[in-house]
């Protein structure tokens, strides 16, 4: 319980340090302890919704949410930018939503794009939840080094 009570302060300090390093202008909003814990507990539900920036009001409502079953079925036959079929590796699945963001939209909006590479989904979800408070930050995530290049390759250039 004591650890739970210390979490908001730690989370805010963590978010503040992250934002200072990334060069963001203002301090992250006050993410309450309860919502951070909830976000961490439901990592697979919340994190995909955080991937699309709120700074794109023109984006379709479906683009802001996790892919529906029909969209997933449609994507099934498509290859990601890496050329590796989806689902071939278990640890690639989590980055699937990120690699499907259209490169043209990323180029147009000019918002800050943050890529979180960590193999612990709870860490990714917590960081994504903190950054999701800001309207001009687009969060991507990847679970291994190889998948970390997938969002970069969507910019139209070839990763090394």
């Amino acid at each position: 319980m004591a650890k739970f009570l210390r979490l908001p302060q730690q989370a805010n300090q963590f978010g503040l340090r992250i934002r200072r390093c990334l060069g963001a202008g203002k301090v992250a909003g006050d993410k309450s302890c309860a919502s951070l814990v909830a976000a961490s507990a439901s990592a697979r539900i919340l994190a995909p919704a955080c991937r699309v920036s709120r700074a794109t009001p023109s984006a379709s409502p479906s683009a802001r949410m996790a892919p529906s079953m029909s969209e997933r079925r449609e994507r099934k036959g498509r290859l990601p930018a890496s050329g590796r079929p989806f689902g071939e590796r278990q640890d690639f699945t989590y980055a699937r939503g990120a690699v499907n963001v259209p490169a043209s939209r990323l180029e147009e909006q000019g918002s800050m794009r943050v890529l979180i590479v960590d193999d612990h989904p709870i860490i990714v979800a917590g960081c994504a939840a903190m950054l999701a408070n800001e309207g001009d930050i687009e969060v991507f995530d990847a679970r291994d080094a190889e998948a970390g290049f997938a969002p970069l390759s969507r910019t139209g250039r070839t990763p090394p």
Partner: protein, 54 residues
């Protein structure tokens, strides 16, 4: 934001590769390890900062 311990390659290696790909990228390495040696290695790899998860 890159963790150090990753499947496939270390966070330091990934930092170098991303910066070779995009020199304008600003990278923060974050880890559970608060050993200054890791922070030094992160900065040497080109990271803008090193943040502990503690």
């Amino acid at each position: 934001m890159i963790d150090i311990a990753l499947p496939g390659a270390s966070g330091f290696e990934l930092t170098r590769r991303i910066l070779r790909f995009d020199p304008q990228a600003r990278i923060v390495v974050f880890s559970m390890n608060d050993d200054p040696i890791f922070a030094r290695r992160a900065i040497e790899a080109g990271a803008k900062g090193y943040v502990t998860k503690k």
